[in-house]
Every structure is written in structure tokens, then in C-alpha cells.
């Protein structure tokens, strides 16, 4: 790689060809403020719209300033990042953005998490010289998952990059011109009327509160304080490796025990683990896979635990609805079991039970509301909180999360295996399925349960796993753009697989749209992934079918995997949808 000589603020330095001024400045310890810029390294996700004009620097010999985020260094370039000209241009850009921003920071869901707020603070803005008309658009609260408030949009276009380039959904794009421009769906449709999958990746990267989640905390407080309701909570695997971040704990800290204690402090009547639902999913899904392989059924079989992915293929591949597994997701299986098996055991009426899920995800909110995932007009899951919302409730209740002792999930639906924990990362579901399928197909006991070939963070991965005489061809994709590529290859006959795992979010659930904001630091996602695998290693039981309470559930209630009753409670169907 060719090296280039440049000068930044009189400091000479050498950088590699292809380095931006922003990156070069970092090398000499300078932090140039940015807003629209986003570079999620290792995930190949870059937003380089160069639209906010906050990172402007002076390049000698140029008539105008240059955006450091996207301008590449060239030989002999002389750059000034610190003179009045550059500083006042940046300040003007931020002042202009603020002049068109509602000043409701104290009431804003992104208060203290907002990049624009932080920028205004860093730049010491105390006065906005250019007051004037502000945008006045309606909030879009049409969906169960996310809220779009165009009045807080700064046109950074990060959401568009996620929605269009990464997820290939194409819902969000700039509408109108000039001052009237905002980001939204075509034809001013409500989000709920589009093919939005509610993956929430737009929310995960939005620098302000233009895109946030639907807040269910009030409804959960209501339920908890209603003496007639028996409120059961379940927690997804990826939550336990991320929620600590909201309480100043290091990224990647495993907080399972504290999490359970915190939920107990909130007075939930029972605290269960979605991991149990994941073990149950494996029982059903592995059986379905084996059945398909042994009976010449449709292959490949696609996992169906990610609701954003489910909605994606309903819209984008409505002619392929026979490939995904018919299994409900772990969250919904849990809900179904709580309102039947658990209700029977506890002698409770299903309508008196409120199932609350804590999920790393926004799509889970929309999933819980799907009409086909109800039984007798009673939702399998009633209320979904994101990791962030649970954090808010704990703070509101004054619970010192980091200082809590560890405790265990409640019995019956609280025990889980290592196989279910890894559902939280890309590659985990399929690895869990293989651990069980191996034992069931070969009749042997798999000793080495770590399938390194299925792990990692590449967008599309494939591996062949030897299961007895069978070569199980496995595909893995995370990010819906990667999923689309994989599916199109299958459609075109280029790729052939027996089983495919797909997760909508980059990294899987650990990078979900409901997780603590990563603010562009993808090391956080990697640390969460490492924590997931560490949690798995620490478990005594590593295979779903070894979970004694799962066995008990089948013995006492469901019969066998894929039985009539299991089908009735734990399986679903898919509905072809239009692409809008």
C-alpha cells in the first residue's frame, strides 16, 4: 500500500493511500466532530453521505472547505482542522440544525443519548443566531414497533443506509425538497402500511430521536400494579450481555443473575427465561429438519425465530413461503406455553396472565401483535420491552442494577442450556440445532459441541457439518441484504443448503434494534458476542434436548416434538404480503 505525506495543523505525517482526513486526524489524536458519518467497521457498513457538513476542514489551495469524513488524503495535502474558518463553518452547521429542531431535550426519549445534543455541547453552542420556521410534520405512530418523528430528523441518512444498502428493504428515503425534505416511506405511507420489517436498525443508528421505539413501559407498570393480573416476564438471551452497558458496566459483561434480581425487584410474579423457549424451538425445529431430510421434504429449511426476517420473506419472497420452518419464535413459544401449560399448573386463567418479554429487538413488538399468534383472542405475548426500556424502568424504580446480587430464574420455565444462549448471536440457532440433530440422527452423544466453523461475523457463511453419514450443508446470513443474496442464490440454483439460519440484524440479536445504543462502536457488538459464547461454555448442559424441564414439558403436556398439540401451540404459518 502506498504511503502519502500530508500535514495536519503543521504536523507532518504519513498515511496510507485511501485514508480520509478524518481517519488521518485520529492518527494524530485529533477528534473532528461528526454527525452524519457512520463507519461500522468489520460489518462493512458505511454511511458517507457527507451531508451534515459538521466535519469541515480547510485544505490549502481549495476555494471551499472539505468534509473530512469523506475527503481522501492526497500527496502533499496541507490541512487545518483548528482555524476559525473551519470552526465557524462547523458551528454554523450545528446552529442551523438546532434552529430547525424542537427544543424538548428534557422530554426527549434520546435525552443524553443524542448525538446532536452531544455535538452542541462539544461545540459549546450557547446561542442560536438563526431562528426561523421549524419543520412541522406528524409523528408516525402507526406501528407497534417504532415511532418516526420527522421533526427531529437531521438528514444524516444513516437510517437510509441501513434500510436500503444493508437491509435492502428500501422503505426509508428522502422525500420532498429544500426545507421541506424529510426521510420517510414513498407516497407518505404510514410505516405500518409498508414492507418495513421493523428490524429497528434505523433506530439503532439514528443520531437523534427521529426514529425511536414504541414505549411500553407505562403499560408494564400498569400491569405490575394490577392485583388481578399475574404478570410473567421472559428475557431473551442477548439482553443479559448488553443491559449492563446502561448501568456503566463494561460491554460484554454477563449480567444474567443481576438481571433476574432486578426483575424480581420490579415484582414480576414469575421470571422465566426465553432461553427455555429457545430450547423448545430446537426440539421442534430439529425434528422438523430431520423429518424434511428423511422424508424428502422441502430443503433448505430456513430458521424462523427472527420476526424481522419472517416479515421480510413474506414481503420479498412470497413464493418461497414453504421453505422456512413453521416453528414460532422462542418468545412466542414461551408465551404459548405460559398461557397453557403454566396456567394449568398454577390454576390460572390465560386471560389473567400478562406475558411481558424483554427483547433486544423492535420487531418482537410487532411480532407479538400478529393476529395469527393469538389463541382464543388472547395474545401469546402481551407486552414487549426492549433492553433499553427495561433499563429505563429499573432506573425509574431506583434499582442499583450493578450492585444487585445474582439470582436464578423461576422454576418450570426458567432453566436452559448453552444451546439456547447462543440464539443471541449470528450462527447460534443453527449451532444449537446441529447439537441436537447430531445426537438424534446418529443416536450417539456429541462430545465436542463447539462448532467453530459456524461462528464469526462475516455476512454470509457456509459450512458442511458431518452428522454420521450425512453431510449437513449449512448456510448462515445476518443482515437482510445478505439474506436476500443467499435466497436469490438458492432461487437461481447457485447455492444448495439443507439448513439456513438468518438473522435480520448485523451480528444477530446482540446487535438488535432494541439494545443499548452502540454509537457506532462495533467493538461493543463483538464483546457481546464473546459474552454469549462464554455463557454457553459455562453451562452444565449444552444441548437443548438435555434440558430436564423441556423433557418434563413434553412428558406432561406436549407429547412428542411435532405432535398434534405441539403443532397447535408451537407452530405457525406465513402470509404472502405485498412489496411496498
Amino acid at each position: 500500500m502506498k504511503m502519502i505525506n500530508i500535514k495536519i495543523n503543521d504536523m507532518p505525517l504519513q498515511v496510507m493511500e485511501g485514508t480520509t482526513i478524518l481517519e488521518a486526524s485520529k492518527q494524530v489524536g485529533l477528534k473532528i466532530p461528526t454527525l452524519c458519518h457512520m463507519n461500522l467497521k468489520d460489518f462493512g457498513i458505511v454511511n458517507q453521505s457527507a451531508s451534515c457538513r459538521v466535519c469541515m476542514v480547510e485544505v490549502e489551495g481549495r476555494p471551499a472547505l472539505a468534509p473530512s469524513c469523506s475527503e481522501l488524503c492526497t500527496e502533499g495535502m496541507v490541512i487545518r482542522t483548528d482555524n476559525l474558518r473551519a470552526i465557524s463553518a462547523r458551528r454554523t452547521a450545528v446552529e442551523l440544525l438546532l434552529s430547525n429542531h424542537p427544543f424538548d431535550c428534557l422530554l426527549c426519549p434520546k435525552n443524553l443519548e443524542c448525538d446532536l445534543q452531544a455535538l452542541a455541547q462539544d461545540l459549546g453552542i450557547r446561542d442560536i443566531r438563526y431562528a426561523g420556521e421549524k419543520m412541522n410534520y406528524q409523528k408516525d405512530t402507526s406501528s407497534y414497533a417504532l415511532v418516526k418523528d420527522p421533526n427531529k430528523c437531521v438528514m444524516c441518512r444513516r437510517c437510509e443506509t441501513m434500510c436500503n444498502t444493508v437491509q435492502t428493504c428500501g422503505i426509508l428515503s428522502a422525500v420532498n425538497r429544500g426545507f421541506d425534505v424529510f426521510v420517510g416511506p414513498a407516497f407518505n405511507l404510514d410505516m405500518v402500511d409498508t414492507s418495513c420489517t421493523f428490524c429497528g436498525q434505523c433506530v439503532a443508528v439514528c443520531p437523534t430521536a427521529a426514529l425511536t421505539e414504541v414505549n411500553n413501559t407505562d403499560a408494564v407498570w400498569e400491569a405490575l400494579n394490577n392485583p388481578k393480573k399475574h404478570v410473567v416476564v421472559q428475557v431473551a438471551p442477548a439482553v443479559r450481555v448488553a443491559i449492563g452497558e446502561l448501568f456503566n458496566m463494561d460491554a460484554g459483561t454477563i449480567t444474567t443473575g443481576k438481571l433476574v434480581s432486578s426483575l424480581r425487584s420490579l415484582h414480576f410474579d414469575a421470571i422465566f427465561d426465553t432461553d427455555f423457549g429457545a430450547d423448545l424451538t430446537i426440539m421442534e425445529e430439529a425434528s422438523e429438519l430431520i423429518h424434511r431430510i428423511q422424508n424428502g421434504g422441502t430443503l433448505p429449511m430456513l430458521t424462523s425465530c427472527c420476526p424481522a426476517w419472517v416479515k421480510f420473506f413474506e414481503h420479498q419472497f412470497p413464493d418461497m413461503l414453504d421453505i422456512p420452518s413453521t416453528c414460532k419464535s422462542p418468545q412466542i413459544m414461551m408465551g404459548a406455553v405460559i398461557k397453557t401449560y403454566y396456567a394449568e399448573k398454577m390454576n390460572l386463567k390465560p386471560e389473567d396472565i400478562v406475558v411481558v418479554s424483554v427483547m433486544p429487538c423492535l420487531a418482537k413488538k410487532a411480532e407479538a401483535a400478529r393476529p395469527e399468534l393469538t389463541k382464543d383472542n388472547n395474545n401469546n405475548v402481551d407486552l414487549v420491552l426492549t433492553t433499553r426500556e427495561l433499563g429505563l424502568m429499573l432506573k425509574e424504580a431506583g434499582i442499583n442494577f450493578a450492585g444487585l446480587p445474582d439470582s436464578d430464574f423461576d422454576h418450570l420455565l426458567g432453566e436452559s442450556t448453552g444451546a439456547s444462549v447462543i440464539f443471541g448471536t449470528t450462527g447460534g440457532v443453527i449451532e444449537a440445532a446441529v447439537r441436537t440433530a447430531y445426537d438424534w440422527i446418529t443416536g450417539e452423544t456429541l462430545e465436542k459441541v463447539d462448532f467453530q466453523q459456524l461462528r464469526g461475523l462475516e455476512g454470509i457463511r457456509s459450512a458442511t457439518v458431518k452428522v454420521g453419514d450425512l453431510n449437513l450443508r449449512i448456510g448462515i446470513a445476518h443482515g437482510l441484504g445478505n439474506a436476500r443474496k443467499l435466497l436469490e442464490d438458492i432461487k437461481a440454483g447457485i447455492s444448495q443448503f439443507d439448513a439456513i439460519e438468518i438473522m435480520a440484524c448485523p451480528g444477530g440479536c446482540i446487535g438488535g434494534g432494541g439494545q443499548p445504543y452502540h454509537h457506532g462502536d462495533m467493538e461493543i457488538i463483538k464483546k457481546r458476542q464473546a459474552a454469549i459464547y462464554a455463557e454457553d461454555r459455562g453451562k452444565v448442559l449444552r444441548k437443548s434436548h438435555d434440558n430436564p424441564y423441556i423433557k418434563q414439558l413434553y412428558e406432561e403436556f406436549l407429547g412428542t416434538p411435532n405432535s398434534h398439540k405441539a403443532h397447535d401451540l408451537l407452530h405457525t404459518h406465513y402470509i404472502p404480503k405485498e412489496k411496498i
Binding site: A50, R53, A89, T92, N100, R177, G178, F179
Partner: protein, 597 residues
């Protein structure tokens, strides 16, 4: 081919068409057959003559008589008098504004005398819907020469040596652009013609496409040969239906003649042209935005580099030139680089077409050699200011340019000189303003335009121009403060420094240049709450000068909002609250008894 003794050329440009020139063509044909002259006299629909303020224009050949403002009612008289009896219809001749002398021949008119037509050479001369007429005037000779006699490098060298620069506004050397697009190795390259003309008042590109579409097709093919492209795309706004129709006709004819398509002139060079319609966004004149729009994406600019010459349409090397630029290319190849570079100034060669508009007597399209002064254009060609009022300023470069005052009227126009006096060439809009034009209001008008046309992508353009507009609006309402002047200056500077594309970077120019040259007008609005030009409605306060009013009631009778009261032979009074400052009373009063603001 039949030979006719007389050709009646009727302008078929958009301006004249909107004044029923197509019906005039039909009526001529009808009247001529009525008198049995249908075979003897041809009626030809041509492109624009450029003298749009005088349209519809009818020119009779070979008599070289130029009739102006012809209506359907005049057709019979022209046939009876001119065609049958050979007598010129004097009342339809153009009269010089100053001398009022009727002039039958166009080359005697000062409007045409100082013009030098290269880009507009065939406009008004040939039938744009007949490729044979283009060929008869030397059309496609340049393309033939290029592909059969020259190497692509030689073509580029000639264009480079000619000194031709981009006529769309930027003034980038055309030959160099071709060379930069030729260099990269790629399986496909593209030539794009930028016909997204959007400057308020500018219509030279439309006129060229309507009047001489083949010149652009020929030049695009030459460019394709030079850079190694086999595909050309004309990006044209959908609101130019006539130009689109004529382009479609021209492309069809050129294909039929083998001048587009495979193995052109028996060579191995293949070239095809398609048309892509744009929705008429001003920003799509910016080449990266244009390319995104052609690709079917939202028309908004992206950062450069990568330049289109490396990574353009579909990620392939793409050469984008403007219509007028292309129209100059065939004559350069025929007459040579030296001929072209002998015209113009040191750094700006050839001619430039301007759309002369505003408070000038002769409105229309004028093509003059670079180096012509503004005074020559406005006073000689334009015939001076309407009604003999005082010249105040001229805006060049449209919303990206600035105002030029009387002090700089003798500046020879070229890319550099206009820049040095705070304006720019732009695509050639030239709007003349007189003492009745308020410069704050003019700046506001342009800011409103850029704000409307901004794609909204970058902060300075989306919000900065909005805030500047709001400040200007306050000033014209009499609510401005002196702090607003500082804000305009600092905002203007920041926007120029940090907007993403040319549209934003030049948007503050009309404000900054009026602030420089007409600071007093700003002060009058802010400090005295007065609009010196009397055009800002909120500040315009018309008054009756009591001692001069004789109570003739003329003012009260013309007032459209009936805000003037007073009995006959009594002093009249204007209700300032109801007055809309239209100025009708001022014009109606024969006793100078109305005080203009």
C-alpha cells in the same frame, strides 16, 4: 425535390408556438392553396429566431423580410400583399426602439448586428424536423470527418486546442473533460447531454434542441467516438415537450440514415442515443445529481471525487456536457480549432448565448463573441431600458450569480471577468433591472428559488438558504435589524464554504453581491423602513401631494382596490393601510401629484 420561389419561415420555437405560430403555419398553407400558390410557396416551421420579445416571427425568403408580432389576422394580408403583389407589409416590420425606423431585414437590426451565431447557427434557418435541411447546411460532415479521418485522440486535441469550455456554467475545458473520460479502461462508457436547463429565464438549450436537434446528436456521436463510448443519453426535463418531440424525430431520422447506430460512415464506430426525461429539478443540472436521476434514483448530488469521468452512470466513465457546448462542436471540427480560438478573449474562446430578459427593449436569445461588453448587449443588442428608465443592474448566472452595476458595464464578458466582479457566467441567463427593481427583493427572489430547488441534502443549503430567505423576507417587510446584515454575511460565507454542491455553494451570491453594491438599499429598508424602488409592498407608501392634486379623480378611477377617496375637484387621499402599492395611481396622475415611495 420541388423548387419553390418563396419560403415562408414561421418560428416554431416554444415562445412563438404559445402565441399560435403553428396555427399561423396552417393558415398560411390554407390561404396559399386558396390562391393556387401551394406548390410555388413553401411554408416552413423553423426553430427559434431568438428575437422572442417580437414573436411570432415570420421571415420571407429570398426577400429577406422579417415580420414581427404576426397574428392569425395578419396572414391574409401577408399573402395578398407580400406573396401575390410583392409589397412589404410595413406595419408588421420591426421598429428600432430609439429611432422608430422600420427595418425589413434582420441583419440591419441592432439586435442581430452584433451577434455571432455558432451554437444558434441553424436556429430559424432550417426546418428542425427535416434531417435533409441539416445535412444541406453541412450537417454530419464533422462526424464523418471525425470517424473516417481522425483518431479519437486527434478529435480531443482539436477540441482542446479550440479552447471550448463548458457552457452550462462551470466553464470546465471540454477537450480536457473528454480526455479524462477517454483515459480509464472500461467495458462501457457513456456520453450524457445535460439538457436540464433550469436557470430562471434561460432557454438557450431548449431553443437549440427545438431549432437544431441534429447539431447536438452529431456532437454527442463525436464525443462518443473521442472517449470510446457507444451509448449516449440526453437528460431533458419533461416540461420541454416540443424539444423532446423534435429530438425523437431527429434520432429516428439519424438512425434511418445510418448516422446513428452501427458502423457509422462505414467505420467500426457504433453509437446510439436515448432520451431520459427528468422531472425538472434544478439541482439535476449538477452532474452527479443528474447521473443519479438517470439511474432512477433521487436526483441529489454526491461528493466528488469520484468524478463522473472515472465513475459515472452505472459506475462507468461518463462524459457530461451541456447542450450549448455540444452545439459548438461540429463547427469546430469543420472550421478548425484556430478559427474557433480566434473568437473571444484570452481564456474564453468562441461565443456565448445569453437569454436577455427583464427591463430591456429587445428580449430574446443573443449569441455574442466572448469579450463583448455588457453595455453592448444591453444597449446595442437589447435596445436599452424600456421606457427610457435608468439602468440599475444586470444579473448574470441566474440564482448562482450576482448583480453587476453600471460601474462594470464595460467589462468584456468572459468566465474570469464575471467572476472577478462577483458574478458568474452560469448558463447564460441575463436579467436587466431598472430603477423600479428593489435589490433586496431580487435577492429574496433568488433565495426563494434556490430554497425551492435545493435537494435538501446538506445542512448549509437546506437550512442556511432558508434562514437567509427568512432574514431577507423580514427586511422587505420592514422588520429587519442591522444584526440581520451581519447574519446574512456570515451565513453567506459559511454556505459558500461548506455546501455540498455548486447549487449551495453559489446560492448566497445574489445576496452577497447586492449587499456589496446596494448596501444603501438594505439600510433604507432597515433604518428608514423605506423601499427606494417602491416595490416592497409592505414598505411602499404612496401619498397624494396635496398642493399638486387638482381632484381630477384619475387616480381613484384606476385604483384596483378603491383605496383613494375624494370628491371631484377636491384633494384626494390614499388609505395607506388598504394600498397594495401597485403604482397605478402614479402612472395615471398627469400632475405628478402622487408621491412614490
Amino acid at each position: 425535390m420541388t423548387t419553390q420561389r418563396t419560403h415562408i419561415m414561421v418560428c416554431g420555437g416554444t415562445g412563438c408556438v404559445s402565441a399560435e405560430s403553428l396555427q399561423i403555419v396552417e393558415l398560411f398553407k390554407e390561404k396559399l392553396s386558396g390562391v393556387g400558390y401551394a406548390d410555388e410557396v413553401a411554408v416552413i416551421k423553423t426553430g427559434c429566431f431568438g428575437f422572442c420579445g417580437q414573436g411570432p416571427i415570420v421571415k420571407i425568403h429570398p426577400d429577406n423580410v422579417f415580420y414581427v408580432k404576426v397574428t392569425l389576422d395578419d396572414v391574409e394580408e401577408i399573402v395578398n400583399e407580400h406573396i401575390i403583389k410583392g409589397r412589404t407589409v410595413g406595419r408588421l416590420l420591426y421598429k428600432e426602439p430609439e429611432t422608430q425606423k422600420p427595418l425589413p431585414k434582420h441583419d440591419e437590426m441592432s439586435f442581430y448586428k452584433k451577434q455571432y451565431r455558432i451554437a444558434l447557427r441553424n436556429c430559424g434557418l432550417i426546418n428542425p424536423e427535416d434531417i435533409n435541411e441539416y445535412i444541406a447546411f453541412g450537417g454530419y460532415e464533422a462526424l464523418g470527418k471525425a470517424v473516417t479521418e481522425y483518431t479519437p485522440e486527434r478529435v480531443i486535441d482539436i477540441v482542446k486546442a479550440s479552447g471550448l469550455r463548458g457552457r452550462g456554467g462551470g466553464g470546465f475545458p471540454t477537450g480536457l473533460k473528454w480526455e479524462l473520460t477517454r483515459k480509464p479502461v472500461a467495458d462501457q462508457k457513456y456520453v450524457i447531454c445535460n439538457a436540464d436547463e433550469g436557470d430562471p429565464g434561460a432557454f438557450m438549450d431548449r431553443s437549440i434542441l427545438e431549432g437544431d436537434p441534429h447539431s447536438v446528436l452529431e456532437a454527442m456521436a463525436i464525443a462518443g467516438y473521442a472517449i470510446g463510448a457507444s451509448e449516449g443519453i440526453i437528460y431533458i426535463r419533461a416540461e420541454y415537450p416540443l424539444a423532446i418531440k423534435r429530438l425523437e424525430t431527429a434520432i429516428g431520422q439519424a438512425k434511418e440514415y445510418g448516422l446513428l447506430g452501427k458502423q457509422i460512415f462505414g467505420s467500426s464506430f457504433n453509437f446510439d442515443i436515448s432520451i431520459k426525461l427528468g422531472a425538472g429539478a434544478f439541482v439535476c443540472g449538477e452532474e452527479t445529481a443528474l447521473i443519479h436521476s438517470v439511474e432512477g434514483n433521487r436526483g441529489e448530488p454526491t461528493k466528488k471525487p469520484p468524478y463522473p469521468s472515472i465513475e459515472g452512470y452505472n459506475g462507468k466513465p461518463t462524459n457530461v456536457n451541456n447542450v450549448e457546448t455540444f452545439a459548438n462542436v461540429p463547427p469546430i471540427l469543420i472550421k478548425g480549432a484556430e478559427w474557433f480560438s480566434s473568437i473571444g478573449t484570452e481564456k474564453s474562446k468562441g461565443t456565448k448565448v445569453f437569454a436577455l430578459a427583464g427591463k430591456v427593449n429587445n428580449v430574446g436569445l443573443v449569441e455574442v463573441p466572448m469579450g463583448t461588453t455588457l453595455r453592448e448587449i444591453i444597449y446595442d443588442i437589447g435596445g436599452g431600458i424600456i421606457g427610457g428608465r435608468a439602468f440599475k443592474a444586470v444579473q448574470t448566472g441566474g440564482p448562482s450569480g450576482g448583480v453587476i452595476t453600471v460601474a462594470d458595464l464595460d467589462t468584456p464578458i468572459d468566465y474570469e471577468s464575471l467572476k472577478s466582479i462577483g458574478s458568474m457566467m452560469g448558463s447564460g441567463g441575463m436579467i436587466v433591472m431598472d430603477e423600479d427593481d428593489c435589490m433586496v427583493n431580487i435577492a429574496k427572489f433568488y433565495l426563494e428559488f434556490t430554497q425551492d430547488e435545493s435537494c435538501g441534502k446538506c445542512t448549509p443549503c437546506r437550512l442556511g438558504t432558508k434562514r437567509m430567505y427568512e432574514i431577507l423576507d423580514r427586511i422587505t417587510q420592514g422588520e429587519g435589524t442591522m444584526a440581520d446584515i451581519d447574519k446574512l454575511r456570515t451565513l453567506g460565507k459559511s454556505i459558500k464554504d461548506s455546501a455540498l454542491c455548486g447549487l449551495g455553494q453559489t446560492a448566497p451570491n445574489p445576496v452577497l453581491s447586492t449587499l456589496e453594491y446596494f448596501y444603501d438599499e438594505y439600510l433604507a429598508h432597515i433604518k428608514e423602513k423605506r423601499c427606494p424602488a417602491g416595490s416592497c409592498k409592505a414598505l411602499a407608501k404612496y401619498k397624494v401631494i396635496e398642493e399638486k392634486c387638482i381632484g381630477c379623480t384619475a387616480c381613484a378611477r384606476v385604483c384596483p382596490v378603491n383605496c383613494i377617496s375624494g370628491a371631484p375637484k377636491q384633494k384626494h387621499v390614499i388609505d395607506e393601510a388598504a394600498c397594495i402599492a401597485c403604482g397605478a395611481c402614479f402612472t395615471a396622475c398627469k400632475f405628478q401629484a402622487i408621491l412614490r415611495p
